[in-house]
Amino acid sequence: MRRYFFKKVVTYLVTFFVATTIDWGIPHLMPGNPVEIYLGRFNISSNAQYLALQKTISQAFGVNVPLWKQYLDFWSGVLHWNFGISFYATAPVTHIIAQAVPYTLALLIPAIVLSYVLGNRIGAMAARRKVLDNVVLPIGYLFQAAPFAWLALALSYFLAVRLRWFPPSLGSNPGIGAGWNWAFIWSAIRHWFLPFLSVFLVSFGGWAIGMRNLVIYELETDYARYLRSLGASQRLVRRYAYRNAVLPQLSGLALALGVVVGGNIVTEVVFQYPGLGHLIFLAITNEDFFLLQGIFLFIIIGVLLANFVIDIAYVLIDPRTRLSMTGATA
């Protein structure tokens, strides 16, 4: 167990290191240097001024030192939770990210958890009820296959623009300041619903279909056949099938995270939902690579942590993994 844990930690640390190094490269790999990109957005009335600016800004960005030093500075920044300054928003990157994170989490966590739980339940139910299966299967496929952007556009058009049941965009009404008051909370919930629904539906389709297929497979496995041969109740067989089918779904969850995060970016862009995804979009269109760097680092850490937790949880849930840790006994 300890060896396994150690190996996992090392793997994740190496992954983190590589991913972070690539992340560091974002502003540095860009053609031109960040200073020129930055200066490019302002109206400078004399060339002498431009040269003077270049010097000052290079200092501000810390790009006037050798590359290896920049790299070390970056790591020191990461460890101090300081990702530099967004030149698009003229504020610390961590500050901007902190504002966006609650929105993204409010979208992602319920969407992932609910779609996972409901998808698994309904998928398992569909696996044994022909009528339900005939409904769940096509709908599940449609949701699973729909591009995030399209589902978001379609929901926005029909439910927001046409029927006006929900607001079509933003995280809350422009006039209502964020805070713990009912006006804001109600407005935030109304704005939250459609983006949530988009992410939820696509993920839900995937989980339901996956679970349906897995349960069907599990019901066809040898142990299920054996139990049936010995007259075990349907309930027991299904319980076993469900339990075993959930295991691969759980590791699928780890793989799905990256995809959901990607889809979430698109969804937030469609709904202009003020989360990290939208921020990424703003950072891309404004070429604010320091902001981009910070957000990606944040996402990388999030995805890695989630993967790590799932890995560990998996070990606790699936006895088979524990075997490979302790080594063979037979």
């Binding site: 591009p147 399209w150 779904q249």
Partner: protein, 331 residues
């Protein structure tokens, strides 16, 4: 008898589970496909031809497979002959802009550009297929190679390749795409497809690795090895054919997921330059307020086409799965 040759835990399990992974529709339950085919061990030519016949027999009778293939065939037709049947050049403008769908403009025209949506749509379908095929081939080749190598060699190579796989899983594709797109001022569809493949192979590698592990442990491979054959020859001649059906399913799913990833890229403006893909159409429609202006014919058809293409691929996949795996055949 050792029982530990099969990899267990998340890596092995991920293969099937991933079905849930929204939008990267990894083999819905290839758990079954992964299972060694009965009798796969010593296939005489007679049996093989019989199985081939059997495959065709079940294939043409599988409703899901046939439905999926028919829909797919329609879109493939569009993809191939789209430019021939396109009524207008996709950049040609008509006044006034924003025409409703009609016989002249099946999907109306855009607003404010006044371009024929149907003609753009035809080209978008073609580009999507191109990206899907390129992505599937490149991800498939890399995933198979890495998975085979890791599963067959094991040891330090396995550890190293697993680490590589892990890193690629955790790196958002978007990050790389953004960095690269800043360099590649003119990005082609070819580039996008290959890029998606090069960053999208990890689950294939994981699945193939697990599969290779189980196959490696089986008698016929042992026998081949004892007879002194080279590893590559065993992998290619004994293991690969046994995984053929599985590999085929993987390609179908890679195809679908590559197209979906491309839509995301294109929608964010990171797609190929100078083309009009499905994602570009939705991006433009969104940016040019097609929702608020009720120009629904601009953004609904492209996404619907993509959804249909992917659904058809998924259904094809399930159908094939049922054909390959007798246990799943409908009774």
């Amino acid at each position: 008898m050792s029982v530990n040759t099969e990899p267990t835990g998340p890596e092995a399990q991920a293969v099937a589970g991933n079905a849930g992974a929204a939008q990267v529709p990894v083999p819905p339950g290839e758990a079954g496909v992964m299972r060694p085919v009965p009798g796969g061990g010593s296939v005489s030519s007679v049996m093989q031809s019989r199985r081939r016949w059997e495959f065709m027999y079940f294939a043409v009778r599988n409703k899901k497979l046939m439905l999926g293939l028919v829909v797919e065939a329609v879109f493939v037709f569009i993809a191939i002959f789209g430019s021939a049947i396109a009524p207008y050049a996709s950049s040609k403008t008509f006044t006034p802009p924003g025409l409703h769908p009609s016989l002249n403009h099946l999907f109306g025209t855009t607003y404010p550009f006044g371009q024929d949506v149907f003609s753009q749509w035809l080209g978008g379908v073609r580009d999507s297929y191109l990206v899907g095929a390129l992505g599937a081939v490149s991800a498939g080749v890399i995933g198979l190679a890495v998975g085979f190598a890791a599963g067959w060699r094991g040891g330090w190579l396995d550890e190293l390749l697993q680490l590589l796989t892990n890193v690629v899983v955790c790196l958002p594709q978007l990050v790389l795409m953004i960095v690269i797109s800043a360099y590649q001022t003119n990005r082609s569809t070819l580039f996008e497809g290959v890029f998606i493949g090069v960053t999208g192979w990890p689950w294939v590698a994981r699945a193939v690795r697990a599969q290779t592990f189980t196959l490696k442990a089986r008698d016929f491979v042992d026998m081949a090895r004892m007879s002194g054959r080279r590893a590559t020859s065993i992998v290619l001649k004994d293991i690969a054919p046994n995984m053929a059906s599985y590999i085929f399913l993987v390609f179908v799913l890679l195809f679908a997921s590559s197209m979906l990833v491309a839509v995301n890229f294109d929608f964010l403006g990171l797609g190929p330059t100078g083309t009009m893909s499905i994602g570009d159409m939705m991006n433009l429609a969104n940016q040019w307020s097609a929702l608020q202006l009720h120009v629904w014919w601009w953004f609904l058809p492209p996404g619907a086409a993509m959804t249909l293409m992917v659904v058809a691929l998924l259904i094809t996949n399930v159908g094939l799965d049922e054909v390959f795996n007798p246990k799943l055949r409908q009774q």
